[in-house]
């Protein structure tokens, strides 16, 4: 409970006016590159294989002749959009980005770089964390849309290469019962997940005390806590938006 209070107080300091907007935008571009662009390869790899496996598993369970052939495409589309792309990719990014942020900020803390910022008169939380949160909130939806597209492409590749379905049947499945609201729901979740990953990881990095061992521990704690936060937020958002 003490940590939650401290986390909320941290956010209060993070969301203040930057010392200089030009510096903020320069840092934002750096973070968009670090958090966003650099995550594209892992997201692409995970999404393509995830889509492929979903399609193959669905096809392997299609023993009943009563099920239309386009079901594979439909299930791939709905499970990718509703859950796999927003949630699983966010959990993977919690590992990649969360540990990176916690160790970066944690190292700055134990090497007194954060103290140096504070003594200069810089709001260190605002300077370090706000560009990261902004970058995550802006770029995570792009990553997830990219993931959705690649997942469906991966599904198609696996089906066509295994000769389990045709392109026409698969595409028909993708388009059948497609509800654009599901995309809105997925992107809303993604924005929340992006915020949670960066803010929770920054919290663990910023308040680390001790040495390199403690930075390592904070990094692990950041990944675990942001993953738990994602799972809880996923449940709550699904309750609020879909039901």
């Amino acid at each position: 409970m003490k940590n939650i209070g401290k986390y909320i107080l941290m956010l209060k300091v993070v969301f203040t006016k930057p010392n200089k907007w030009r510096v903020f935008f320069e840092r934002l571009i750096e973070e968009l590159n670090g958090i966003g662009i650099n995550s594209l390869p892992i997201v692409a790899l995970m999404s393509a294989f995830m889509g492929g496996v979903i399609a193959l598993q669905t096809a392997s369970n299609m023993s009943s002749p009563l099920l239309p052939a386009y079901t594979i495409g439909y299930i791939t589309q709905s499970s990718t959009i509703l859950e796999f792309s927003p949630t699983i990719i966010s959990l993977i990014l919690a590992g990649k980005i969360g540990s990176n942020i916690a160790s970066e900020i944690g190292t700055m803390r134990v090497t007194e770089q954060i103290d140096a910022l504070e003594i200069m008169g810089v709001n260190s939380l605002n300077f370090l964390v706000l560009p990261k949160i902004t970058a995550a909130v802006l770029f995570f939806p792009i990553l997830v849309i990219f993931s959705m597209a690649l997942s469906m492409f991966g599904g198609w590749m696996s089906l066509v290469l295994s000769d389990l379905s045709t392109t026409e049947e698969y595409v028909l499945g993708l388009r059948t019962f497609f509800d654009p609201f599901n995309i809105k729901y997925a992107l809303t979740k993604t924005v929340v997940f992006g915020f949670l990953i960066v803010s929770v990881s920054s919290f663990y990095g910023y308040y680390v005390t001790g040495g390199s061992l403690d930075v390592g521990r904070a990094s692990t704690q950041a990944v675990v806590s942001s993953s738990v936060a994602i799972l809880i937020a996923n449940f709550l958002l699904t309750q609020m938006i879909l039901l």
């Binding site: 010392n19 200089k20 510096v23 190292t107 090497t111 007194e112 770089q113 103290d115 140096a116 504070e118 003594i119 200069m120 008169g121 810089v122 709001n123």
Partner: protein, 255 residues
């Protein structure tokens, strides 16, 4: 001038600073000395606001730092330069980036003006032309000098140095001490140095405060610290055989 008045600071049950009062004069190198764990670093951190005091006042030319809000403190902090024990240079920036950083954040200088100021500061610490190196490419002594260059880039009125000689060889230590002394008198700053290096005390200690068990145990200068009869200071000053030999030879001279 910086004044500390009746400052108390505890961490849980551990009472680290016990009613400490002291004055640090302008244009002088003021040393805070003491054994490890006696509270000198905590005192310095309280003075710059990295720790909040439990009670007492910290006055920067009459302005009570403890009573200011975050924004007002930020204004005073722009008048403070600090050299950290581990230099605390920003890894991701070059030497130039490090020195330019406070200028970018707090001045309206043009790029050209900032570049000129960086070159001047680097020249002042004898590191001209090292602009494009990264901190990881610099030796410990160079990092300290870059730290000093960054600290003086904003023309501070107050300079804090936290153990500026730790981890340095004796020659580089003397160089850093000399640099601190020179820039203090050149810019008429109030310089506060936390150290337990007796060489620094003898070289640059215009004013010396000895912190013991969280109290301002003794105050004097580099001459009086050698001759004082205070037993706690005696244990600190004459801890090494070298200093003991100096004392013996001084006593022999006196007859």
């Amino acid at each position: 001038m910086v004044e500390v008045i009746n400052v108390n600071k505890s961490f849980g049950e551990n009472h680290v600073l016990d009613d400490v009062s002291a004055q640090f004069e302008k244009g002088k190198v003021n040393l805070i000395i003491g054994q490890s764990g006696q509270g000198k670093s905590v005192l310095a951190k309280c003075m710059v606001g990295l720790h909040e005091v439990d009670s007492g006042q910290i006055l920067y030319d009459g302005r009570d730092f403890t009573q200011l809000n975050r924004y007002e403190r930020s204004k005073i902090r722009q008048e403070i330069g600090m050299l950290f024990q581990g230099s605390a240079l920003f890894d991701s920036m070059t030497v130039e980036g490090n020195i330019m950083f406070p200028l970018i954040m707090f001045t309206k200088m043009t790029k050209g003006e900032m570049k000129k100021r960086v070159d001047f500061c680097l020249e002042r610490v004898n590191l001209s032309g090292k602009n494009n190196l990264f901190p990881s490419e610099c030796s410990g002594g160079m990092q300290k000098r870059i730290g000093i260059a960054r600290a003086i880039s904003m023309n501070p009125q107050y300079l804090y140095c936290d153990e500026p000689n730790s981890g340095l060889d004796p020659q580089t230590s003397i160089l850093i001490d000399g640099l601190i002394k020179d820039i203090t008198s050149e810019y008429q700053m109030t310089t506060i140095v936390i150290t337990h290096d007796m060489n620094s005390v003898i070289e640059i200690g215009d004013s010396v405060i000895f912190i013991y068990e969280g109290k301002n145990w003794w105050q004097g200068n580099r001459e009086s610290i050698i001759t004082t009869d205070n037993p706690e200071i005696g244990n600190f000053v004459y801890a090494s055989q070298f200093m003991k030999d100096i004392r013996t030879s001084m006593q022999e001279k006196r007859g």
